[in-house]
Symmetry: C2
Subunit: 130 residues, 2 copies
DNA sequence: CTGGCACCTGGAGCGCTCTCCAGGTCAAGC
DNA sequence: GCTTGACCTGGAGAGCGCTCCAGGTGCCAG
């Protein structure tokens, strides 16, 4: 039955490199994968689900070291649930603050775009303007 | 009249290190600052304004190399205005996409928080639940 | 039996963005 | 006149997140 997906399949499915996946395992971001008889990693569906969640954490700016902490808590299920919750709530705060900051910066950039646009249309509308 | 602010003042005002400021100049992110008689950098108000805009670009994920391109265009004012506009518009697209992605990830994280919350209240509300 | 391919390990290397350091100059205050 | 502190330069070092490599194993197809 050769349970689970090989590393290449998982990498392709999630748009990662196999090197990145192995690197995550070394770094503790991923729990050590099960191995088949030949020593190759085999990923179960729930491993992939966990990885997808971890990628959302990564993509929202959580450092790998902190994701590794989270993964460590997942591995002590169910004992780690309160800490996991606290960690996610703290990250949620950071993330909403970041989104707010990005949105403010977007406003500044839009202001600049409007400026340049005005300069350009002014120059076009009144060539050789006084 | 010793025109302009010394590097330390600018750094404090914008929350940067003086090393970072000098690094930005080396990298072309900042135009070479004017110098006083003793060779020390002196920043005029408009230098600080430019820097603030550049920091918004940096904070929204634009790589320093690209910011340096932008700065180069600023230095050829007014010739560089159309390219600056194009560059900002392109960055604006990237940025809105990033904000959207972060918002989606926030939703996933909120879902996880809700899950854990439910597990915790279930465990508390029905200790030794069947 | 021979390729070829996906996988393995340990470790080196890389791109980015700073940060720190040694060694030196200069102006102001005591 | 001497110390102190902010500034200068060029260059090395650091942390993060991968990416690449050499050298090797095991399985399947032809």
């Amino acid at each position: 039955m050769s349970d689970g997906y090989p590393i290449g399949d998982v990498a392709r499915r999630l748009g990662l490199s196999v090197d990145a996946l192995r690197y995550y395992e070394r770094a503790g971001v991923l729990p050590p994968a099960d191995r088949d008889a030949g020593g190759r990693r085999r990923y179960a569906e729930h491993d992939v689900h966990l990885l997808e969640v971890l990628l959302h954490l990564r993509d929202t700016g959580m450092p790998l070291a902190e994701i590794a902490t989270f993964t460590g808590l997942v591995r002590q299920d169910p004992a780690g649930v309160p800490e996991r919750l606290a960690l996610l709530r703290a990250h949620r705060e950071v993330l909403t603050a970041r989104i707010a900051a990005l949105t403010r910066s977007l406003g500044v950039i839009d202001g600049k775009i409007a400026d340049y646009d005005a300069r350009l249309t002014a120059a076009a509308g009144a060539p050789g303007a006084r």
